[in-house]
């Protein structure tokens, strides 16, 4: 596996400083801003390997994780990231929508802001919920996943993991396989990777990977062989079983037969290709255990890097006046 970083086609210096108060998505974030976050994350990654895993960067700041959707992985990752920056962290798991609870989202957040919080990390089932929220609140907001829209920190940790494996984005082929249309991870990855010159191939049945995504600079195919052929990165998305009930799929079995990533099929990809997954895995569905546990799999690296990337994002946003 080639571990040396190839010189980039167009070496660009990262933007000198961060100016955004919120990170709502990557669609309108520039390539330089993405590079700045990744650079910042690189310097934070080392913190987690120290005997005392803490820096005082956010001491005295209050970070609230407000999760309106069940999430263990992302919430834990943000919690660890904030604690390693010495912030005070409050995690709130609000099940269901705010309306079901009888309190509006705006009222929930205004209540939290009465405690003088600084940063708000929000996961919400409604696309656009953080965009709506920032018009009504004073905190800095990080989108930890909004409906089917964006999941910017997931894409950033994906990019960090790809570049950590010595792969330059320009000219790279990334195959994203599965339920694209309902995936906020796929959208954020497509927005970020295409900005950095990466060729993204989206693969799935037309019900889940419609051609409309080509408008974002990606290529769509329903042939897995075409997606895997010469790929540098094979990114499997989690299959939601309820898609079968909504007739996006005839059966999970047929999905596995047509789109399941196996060791045999991985031979179509580059020999040093890496396998990624946002978790949690459905072993034997998106990919076989053999592939998930192979040397090519970087799934646990993604989890580790999630902390560094989220430390970088919290740090950059907190530093903006």
């Amino acid at each position: 596996m080639a571990r040396t970083t190839k010189p980039r086609a167009k070496p660009t210096a990262p933007a000198t400083h961060w100016t955004r108060r919120h990170l709502l998505g990557l669609e309108d974030v520039s390539a330089d801003e993405i590079r700045l976050i990744l650079e910042t994350a690189r310097s934070f990654k080392e913190v987690s390997t120290r005997a005392i895993k803490k820096v005082p960067a956010l001491r005295g700041k209050t970070v609230v994780n407000l999760f309106f959707e069940a999430s263990t992985r992302t919430r834990t990752s943000f919690e660890v990231a904030a604690k390693r920056l010495s912030a005070d962290v409050l995690s709130i798991a609000a099940s269901g929508s705010s309306v079901v609870k009888g309190e509006t989202l705006i009222d929930t957040v205004h209540t939290l802001e009465a405690y003088h919080i600084d940063l708000l990390v929000m996961r919400h089932a409604a696309s656009g919920a953080p965009h709506f929220l920032v018009r009504h609140c004073t905190s800095r907001v990080i989108n930890a996943g909004d409906g089917m829209h964006e999941h910017p920190t997931q894409a950033l940790l994906d990019l960090f993991t790809i570049s950590e494996r010595g792969k330059a984005f320009d000219g790279l082929k990334v195959a994203i396989i599965g339920d694209i249309i309902h995936s906020r991870v796929a959208r954020s990855d497509v927005f970020a990777l295409t900005k950095l010159g990466t060729h993204v191939v989206l693969c799935g049945p037309p019900t889940l990977a419609p051609k409309r995504f080509e408008a974002f600079g990606a290529t769509c195919t329903s042939r897995l062989e075409e997606a895997l052929d010469g790929a540098d990165v094979v990114y499997c998305l989690r299959m939601q079983f309820e898609r079968q009930q909504a007739n996006f799929l005839p059966s999970v079995g047929e999905y596995v037969r047509l789109f399941g990533v196996t060791a045999e099929r991985m031979k179509l990809a580059k020999p040093d290709a890496i396998v990624m997954h946002p978790g949690p895995l459905n072993r034997g569905i998106e990919l076989t255990s053999e592939v998930a546990d192979s040397a090519q799999s970087v799934v646990l690296d993604q989890v580790t890097n999630g902390v560094a990337v989220r430390m970088a994002v919290l740090f950059l946003l907190a530093g903006v006046n």
Partner: protein, 437 residues
């Protein structure tokens, strides 16, 4: 309603497409009826409305309004909704049956007409539900509804999902001579969609409503109109495909008509990038190609009229996450300015053509024989327009109870100046301005 008034409207330019009038004339209304149109009318002891500098047109008619009374008076009621209509230049409005209770019995029609008589600022024409509860499962007592005053039957807000029931309802309605106003939506296809399905729904991660959800019902309803010979009026047409279907059906003589809203003529799905819930309505804002075809359809007569689909919702029903927000926006107080600015000044329609779309055609479709023209003998409903007035849309000044408009802050050229209903001045912007100074 103030009853029947006597009034002379002086010194305006009278424009009436039905009579081919376009001249500096005065209009005399006696006891609620237009009596004479001539130059230099100065009858003694008759109240004068100064129309100098304005265009005097037949009272405008909005055939698609949700007054929300009975049942949803926190959004709008007959008093506030009709005041909004008067302020917007509309002398008559037709109100949709998706109230609570639904307008599916003569008793609800009686209630609405009594309330309109007592507190209404403009004429109110109720539209009956085509099926009890708008459930589309059986035929409503259309005869009783029409006898009580319904000018049409409709499935607005729901559509008719059961084609068999709709076919029977249209066959049945045929004997009453009222049109069926169709909310064309296959709800299995629109499902949980919240905006137009296309590039922007994909970009924003919002569930889409495909154009096909509307077009399938427009095509089906055109076929049923042909089968039953009952007139079918397509409400709030929104897609290029629907326009093509209606155009083709009209060319073959099918009894079909269509209306378009000011917002579908001016906005597209590209506007939703802000997740502004005041851009969420059914049918959804479509693409620029659709918008251009709506304009072509309006120009070539495929689309007969402009109607607002005025759909008031309370602040709390709109100030929530986009997928949770109520569908619909208000339109009574912005329609005329939008139409003048976007259609007349941009040379999409001439002013006489616009009056045809906003008065003559809706009167014809709803069978309002005494409305839509200024001919002597017609009802004394008149609207005064100033096509050159420059306004900034300010929702805080609306007479409507609700504020759910995406047009706040828009600078527009052209505005209603006064609205006369049965010879009484229901709204006069100049008088309001005078009393304030």
């Amino acid at each position: 309603m103030k009853g029947k008034g006597t009034l002379v409207i002086r010194s305006g330019r009278v424009l009436d497409p039905a009579q081919g009038l376009n001249d500096r004339l005065d209009v005399l209304i006696v006891e609620g009826r237009i009596v004479e149109i001539a130059f230099g009318l100065a009858p003694e002891g008759v109240e004068v409305l100064d129309a100098s500098g304005t265009i005097v047109v037949p009272g405008l008619i909005d055939m698609h309004v949700h007054l929300r009374e009975p049942g949803f008076e926190h959004k709008e009621n007959i008093e506030s909704g009709t005041r909004a209509a008067a302020r917007g230049g509309f002398a008559s409005i037709a109100c949709m049956p998706n109230t609570n209770p639904v307008i599916d019995t003569s008793g609800v029609i009686d209630l609405i007409m009594m309330r309109a008589e007592a507190v209404g600022a403009v004429n109110v024409f109720p539209i009956g539900a085509i099926s009890p509860g708008l459930e589309g499962k059986e035929i409503a007592n259309i005869g009783s509804l029409v006898e009580a005053g319904a000018v049409a039957v409709s499935d607005d807000g729901e559509g008719s999902q059961d084609t068999y029931v709709l076919r029977r309802a249209l066959d049945y309605a045929n004997m009453f001579g009222v049109p069926y106003i169709s909310h064309a939506e296959d709800t299995r296809l629109s499902a949980d969609g919240v905006m137009h399905e296309g590039h922007y729904s994909t970009l924003l991660g919002l569930t889409g409503i495909p154009s096909a959800a509307e077009e399938i019902h427009v095509a089906r309803n055109a076929i049923l109109a042909e089968l039953t010979d009952t007139p079918c009026h397509i409400a709030h047409i929104s897609t290029a495909g629907s326009v093509r279907i209606v155009r083709e059906a009209k060319a073959r003589g099918v009894p079909i008509t269509a209306e378009v809203t000011p917002h579908h003529l001016t906005l597209t799905d590209a506007c939703l990038a802000t997740y502004d819930t005041n851009l969420k309505m059914k049918p959804p804002l479509r693409t620029e190609e659709d918008r251009l075809e709506l304009i072509r359809g309006l120009q070539d007569g495929t689309i007969d009229c402009i109607a607002t689909d005025h759909a008031p919702h309370a602040y709390s029903e709109k100030q929530v996450e986009f997928p949770l927000a109520a569908f619909g926006i208000i339109g009574l107080e912005t329609a005329v300015s939008l139409a003048l600015n976007e259609l007349v000044h941009k040379k999409v329609l001439t002013l006489p053509q616009l009056i045809e779309k906003m008065a003559t055609a809706p009167a014809r479709i709803l069978g309002l024989a005494k409305k839509g023209s200024l001919e002597p003998g017609m009802d004394g409903d008149v609207t005064l327009l100033d096509p050159e007035a420059k306004i900034t849309v300010n929702p805080d000044k609306f007479a409507s109870k609700s504020r759910n408009t995406p047009f706040g802050g828009w600078e527009l050229k052209g505005a209603p100046v006064a609205t006369v209903v049965a010879g009484h001045v229901a709204y006069n912007a100049r008088a309001t301005a005078k009393t304030k100074t």
